[in-house]
């Protein structure tokens, strides 16, 4: 199984443990992730006004490079990257004006692609690459059964609440990832790893997103709501896929403790960390020292870590 991998900016700096565990797990599972060469920022947020057509250029350049690199699928783990790439891809496919404008812009764009010297600009990009979240790769390509079989150290007894956040699920017509109100893909993933899956009512509520900068107290309020609800439902650890959710759930617990006396820390993990753990990969790969709320005591208690 071979597909292109788009890491995204945050996983190379603030969320290296997401990137490292993704790559190591894929290797272990025999999935050939081909990291896109010379990738650039995806733009982080999808442009929501009719006039910001130029803001679609980065995503389309990325997707065109996927195609030019000989891949028809690209996967990513960051929910923001997934959302912007997937929505831009759809916009290009369904919207003639956007397709023409963006391609016209990219025609003059000299692709810096040392692996393939070209004198001509590549053909227009029309949305032909499939954008997949890594969870979709498991669901639709790899298969849950196969994943469960590949699990060497099933995470039995670990009570994990899956947290979807906003970007994976919404707007449902554009991302079409799962049922927007009652999604199950994350649950199926965790079940394949052997976790005890904890359902809780705020698994798709917003964490406050980039309001982390402009309204940090709102982000604290929302993260507090989500974390306490997960714990109340019986979760020992929260699993997620978005580095920004991770920031708002993990490091923010420092502020939450200040604003909400009596708040007990809850560890938060990337879904790929759980995957790497279940695959029995070396602890060094997991990056467990990078968390604000240390997850290691819990994992040791559950005999999942030396």
């Amino acid at each position: 199984m071979k597909l292109a991998y788009y890491p995204g900016c945050t996983v190379r700096d603030k969320a290296v443990h997401l990137d490292e565990t993704t790559k190591a797990s894929a290797r272990e599972l025999g999935i050939d992730l081909q990291e896109l060469e010379n990738w650039t920022c995806c733009g982080a947020t999808y442009p929501l006004t009719e006039e910001k057509i130029a803001n679609l250029v980065p995503q389309i350049r990325i997707l065109r490079n996927v195609r030019e690199g000989g891949n028809s699928q690209v996967t990513t783990t960051c929910a923001f990257c997934y959302s912007t790439l997937k929505r831009a891809n759809r916009a290009i496919a369904v919207d003639d004006l956007r397709r023409q404008r963006v391609n016209a812009f990219l025609r003059d764009d000299d692709p810096v692609r040392p692996y393939k010297e070209q004198t001509q600009a590549p053909a227009d990009y029309e949305g032909e690459v499939a954008v997949l979240h890594l969870l979709e790769v498991f669901r639709d390509g790899f298969g849950w059964d196969r994943l469960a079989k590949a699990t060497k150290k099933p995470l039995n007894g670990l009570k994990v609440a899956p947290y979807y956040g906003c970007k994976l699920l919404r707007p449902p017509k554009e991302v079409a990832f799962d049922d927007p109100e009652n999604p199950t893909i994350f649950e199926q993933f965790l079940a394949a790893l052997g976790c005890e899956v904890i359902d809780f009512p705020f698994k798709s509520e917003c964490c406050g997103s980039y309001l982390a900068l402009s309204a940090p107290e709102s982000a604290s309020r929302l993260s507090h709501l989500i974390l306490t609800s997960a714990v109340k439902s019986g979760a020992e650890v929260l699993a997620l896929s978005c580095p920004l959710c991770y920031y708002n759930m993990d490091l923010r617990q420092r502020d939450i403790s200040k604003s909400y006396p009596g708040f007990q820390h809850v560890p938060v993990m990337f879904f790929t960390q759980l995957l790497a753990l279940a695959l029995g990969l070396d602890e060094k790969v997991l990056g467990l020292d990078l968390h604000y709320v240390d997850v290691r005591p819990l994992l040791r208690q559950k005999n999942l870590l030396q």
Binding site: T10, A44, C166, E205, Y210, L213, S214, A215, E217
Partner: protein
């Protein structure tokens, strides 16, 4: 109501100083309802707020309402009435995190986050940034994920 940040009020003053918390009566006339502003919001956002029948489901599910001065359905209502100053001067448009919860549930398929984005653009046009890099404390800049910085400056910067 919880204070968001001290800066939000200050910046709001910078953006729409003439409004500053007026809650007078709504003066209606054809040219107000069908103003150039209303048309600009529609064309910029690609959303027609006139289609909203004010069920309020957006406000019911919005995670940010506790900090908002107007709930989302009120912003849409004021847009229907062409009340430019109210919608450009409210906090709500800066508090939308574009989580699309409202849009995914709206019975009329109205994307409020698009309206908020258009209103933010119009509020900032030719004026000041809502959030400039220099407004963000150094320690926050080093902590937050890159995606948050790019997103925030895209939503709040010129």
């Amino acid at each position: 109501m919880a204070q968001v940040t001290a800066d939000v009020e200050a910046v709001r003053g910078r953006l729409m100083p003439e409004r500053a918390g007026q809650h007078g009566k709504v003066l209606l006339a054809g040219k107000v309802v069908n103003s150039e502003f209303a048309e600009r919001v529609r064309s910029l956002s690609g959303v027609d707020p006139r289609e909203c029948y004010q069920c309020g489901k957006c406000s019911s599910g919005c995670p940010m309402t506790p900090e908002m001065d107007l709930i989302p359905s009120q912003v849409i209502r004021l847009l229907q009435l062409g009340q430019e100053q109210d919608v450009l001067g409210c906090k709500t448009i800066w508090l939308c995190a574009s989580c699309f919860q409202c849009y995914s549930r709206c019975p009329k398929g109205i994307d409020f986050s698009r309206l908020a984005e258009a209103l933010r653009m119009l509020a900032m046009a030719g004026k000041v940034e809502y959030l400039a890099p220099e407004d963000v404390p150094e320690e926050v800049l080093t902590e937050v994920p890159q995606q948050a910085l790019v997103s925030a400056f895209r939503k709040y910067g010129l």
